[in-house]
Symmetry: C2
Subunit: 401 residues, 2 copies
Amino acid sequence: MTQYHPLTEPEAIEFARTIPNLFQPGADLVSREIGDGNLNLVFHIQDRHSSASVILKQALPYAKVVGESWPLTLDRARIESEVLQLQGKLCPTLVPSVYTYVPHLSLTVMEDLSDHMIMRKGLMEGNQYPLFADHISTFLAHTLYYTSDLGMNQQDKKWQVKQFINPELCKITEDLIFDDPYTNSPNNSFEEAIRDEAEALWSDSQLHLEVARLRHGFLTNAQALLHGDLHTGSIFITAQSTKVIDPEFAYYGPMGFDIGAVVGNLLLNFAGQEGLSETDEKRAEFRQYLLETIREVWTGFEVKFRSLWSSHSTDRISRTPGFQDMYLKQLLQDTFGYAGCKMVRRVVGLAHVADLDKIADTASRERAQRIALAIGKALIKHNRQAASIDELLDIAKATIS
Amino acid sequence: MTQYHPLTEPEAIEFARTIPNLFQPGADLVSREIGDGNLNLVFHIQDRHSSASVILKQALPYAKVVGESWPLTLDRARIESEVLQLQGKLCPTLVPSVYTYVPHLSLTVMEDLSDHMIMRKGLMEGNQYPLFADHISTFLAHTLYYTSDLGMNQQDKKWQVKQFINPELCKITEDLIFDDPYTNSPNNSFEEAIRDEAEALWSDSQLHLEVARLRHGFLTNAQALLHGDLHTGSIFITAQSTKVIDPEFAYYGPMGFDIGAVVGNLLLNFAGQEGLSETDEKRAEFRQYLLETIREVWTGFEVKFRSLWSSHSTDRISRTPGFQDMYLKQLLQDTFGYAGCKMVRRVVGLAHVADLDKIADTASRERAQRIALAIGKALIKHNRQAASIDELLDIAKATIS
């Protein structure tokens, strides 16, 4: 195993045996490949006779999306493992532990989180996660603050920018989020029922101007080390625990992009409630839960971020009166804008979300998609005027009233 | 010469002989070390019997400023030579030609520009340069446009950001421009006569908020590959020719920082006219020339930048109606802000400019310094409201009326 090649399951098992202090010698190990096969191999390796287990995640040198295959840098595996370790220092309980990284195999060996569920699935099953807002707002506040010029030495930060230059993965975001949905691109994918909505996106000049601005921020604003793909499919969750996974899109960008990803994906589930065969009352209750969660994510983030800033910062200039308020206002506005972009692309762009696509009833699915688009567009158009998270909740509520 | 060491003059001459196609074999070469000795050795090597000559610029592993000495990365020589070559491709007539770079000696071999004069000196001698505004606005438009996400592939740009990470030189800017002048720092240096002005800077909270914002832009806004130190001492000039030199501070930052450097330094000379033993009429005329030059620098930049954008850009999103106007408005505002920062620090900070300091008459010097500070502060405070370059000229004129 001295040269890169995709591991077979027997090889993965043999490799797992070599990890110190994990399995007993001669343990009866079994492997299950649980990756989606598009970007990575993910081996879940378990001892049949004990609770010991581990995850081996190996990057593949290509990406497969809707049948297409294109080469994709293996360097993303280095980035992912280094980011996980960095985030692990900043919020140890909120990411999987990395045991080791094997550069020549692009292989990260990490904690098994099989007792957790992908959050998107959990929300689709109607689960509520009362601790989630507290957890994710801690994750956002700590990872964004401590990797920014506010929370670390400004020169060290520049070396870190260099460490996490990630052009290939950024290009996927730039194309799929900020470009394709707003033009008649062959990458787009939407149902004929909402063709009117898709075509309206292609000619909405007010929307285009805001998206051009937000894309420019994504391209230039090296504010903090982002997760870069923080949707509810990148979050493992239980009632007690939240773990953020898969930071292969990590790079230095605008903080609001990560916060907006969380908010936008909660709102996609909000739209998706249209499809559940629940009573109106139950549906309204779950939507209320989602909106309250969004409010707590933002307010929790703001309180924690301000607290880190006020208590930790040794940077004299960042303590300038008024600067913190100005900074947080910009973050809120960016959060509106990027949340909106994240929503729009999940309805008409290449990659969709199950919250909407898995709605079986055609009419309900169409309603849900129209709600998601209505919220997304309104957030994008309102982004530069936003002054309070309440405005975001009002925008969401207005689409279902 | 296999290991780094500061060259002696005989070594510089021997090295110069090895440059292909420059000197005749056995040429009678003479070397003059013309660097200021603070950061670099600069050998001017000339054939006594022909017009052939060359510049050898070697970085020293330390910086000396007012007697202090601290270590400084030699990597800045790589950055400088690579930036000169890149700028040479974008505007070949506006930078010295680089013949070669010798990594292990941190040595750049380049075109001799001894027939040019440092522009700051030229302005102090009362020279007018009718072609300067056209030249420098071309330099600004081409170097900033073609290194930005507008003028190059967005993925290649990210690799270029990585290539020009420059923490040590950026720290000098961050400290001397955005920090020290606004607090009672031991690095500051100002005359007792203007202590009232210096102390006022330390407690001006409106100013501090704007400077914190502008510094944040410098720290995070990876908009284009900047020269990074584009004052009139980094410009070699004749009536016909303009050459921008010394880009060792180059890094990816806000475009307005470079444009503001040019504008701010022209305004420092504007303030410095106070000290010339000219008639009021002559002084007014030169000041008018400087203001007209500033106007032409901005309008020339704007016209050329918009023209490149409209004719060259293959990026669909950047053609979104309204985006170009919004972008240029922000550049103008940044230009106001950074021009102001560049001025303030040259009066009360560590490194001054001869335009002010060389004024022999004490009262005139004090008046000039107060004018420079008045313009600088007004530009910083007005930056977010700026809508036209005329406002900048009005601010300057108001300080002498």
